[in-house]
Point group: C2
Chain length 244, copies 2
């Protein structure tokens, strides 16, 4: 892990850009911390870190205000990382299916999501190795948001992640439902009731599938990008309960 730049944000948060091999990432830490702090991994959709930055920094600042470090890495095939032909093809297939009103087949969903999950999850785990070896970053670790299938896999396989906040807003392969049954950590699942890109019943089925004894579904009105501000407060409360 190589730090490439740093800047101090207005509210006493140190933002450091890094690379982990070829993967760009960002780490935010609260200035005020006197002991090693818990860490929240900030997931995001595959739109590239430069485009996602404003929303990510807002989430990181909220985490820092609660006494947590936050970090994110770029997804494979997104942002400034090399394009990935197979996933680009699956995205084009998805777009065509949606434009023509054809039902989106399981094959398209699998081709779009599973390679991303297979590649991204070990990258998040490598980032975790590097981040937890830094002075000032302790644990426990939470994972928040982003492509929900990545969150499900990470929650199922990575024992250092002790709580996850997931956003039910993207297509989920059938195989991920099976992995959801193996998740046992506390979950906070956000659902936008009228999400245009999301099948509500599939989201409810996925919530039902999780093996966790403590899981909470928060459904709010509005479309994918219409998450109300108070939903963020509730999610922050979830991490405060489980990471402190």
């Amino acid at each position: 892990m190589q730090f490439t730049s740093e800047q101090r944000l207005d509210d006493g948060v140190l933002e450091r850009r890094f690379t982990l091999g070829e993967i760009p990432g960002i780490l935010w830490t609260p200035d005020s911390a006197s002991a090693p702090v818990p860490l929240i991994l900030l997931g995001h959709p595959p739109l590239g870190l430069p485009r996602m930055y404003p929303r990510l920094v807002a989430r990181a600042q909220r985490a820092a205000a609660d006494g947590f470090a936050a970090a994110t890495i770029e997804l494979p095939g997104s942002g400034e990382r090399p394009r990935w032909a197979a996933v680009d093809q699956a995205r084009a297939d998805l777009r065509r299916a949606m434009e023509t009103g054809t039902p989106v087949s399981d094959e398209i969903i699998d081709a779009l999501v599973l390679p991303l999950v297979d590649k991204a999850v070990p990258e998040w785990q490598a980032a975790l190795d590097a981040l937890l070896s830094l002075p000032g970053i302790g644990g426990p670790v939470g994972y928040s948001g982003g492509v929900i299938s990545v969150g499900v896999r990470l929650a199922a396989v990575e024992p250092r992640v002790v709580a996850a906040g997931l956003f039910a807003g993207s297509l989920v392969p059938r195989a991920i439902f099976e992995e959801a049954r193996r998740v046992t950590i506390p979950l906070h699942v956000l659902l936008q009731w009228d999400d245009e890109g999301n099948d509500r019943q599939a989201a409810l089925d996925l919530f039902d599938a999780f093996g966790s004894k403590e899981k909470t579904l928060h459904a709010n009105m509005g479309g994918h990008t219409g998450v109300p501000q108070f939903a963020g407060e509730d999610a922050a409360g979830f991490f405060a309960r489980h990471l402190k």
Copy 2:
């Protein structure tokens, strides 16, 4: 409205028992208030105030800590009020259907719930008239919990109630789904995912039916009485946003 007794609770809350005609009720007010405070009406299941008191006083103390008054009245046919033969009969029919594994018919649900709603809602409105005329009780008014059909009707017909927290945990007549479409105030709906006495799909359908632009569903694991403590925190946050 006649006050019949008063006592000061440990944490600076004044508890006053009252009767409104033949209806017993309880009012809790925070000592610390210098100006008229908002009011939360505390709904409850038809088990009688004496049995419900421990849970009600805990909810009232939380409301008082947030700067709100809280009040409740006995439901018709419950507690120390005269028995109500028609509702007793419907309860017996319901119990028999459940014991024999017969599907609970719409007729049984209607006979059990609609007379209660028809009688209880005007009583809550009369209590509201009396409570809002007291010095120290201002508004706005929220309604919280109890028989969900009572909450739906009250939210639909009573303009002084500006926000409602509802608990999806009881049988809902079809007619109440229609009334739900006319509800427009902000709603916070709690659902216990594995509630043994509740049809999960019916609860989701009722949530979908509400006409409110701001409505949030919080689903948690466990049975009817297993509501986790943090769910109460989230509900308190909802009222803090809408009554202050």
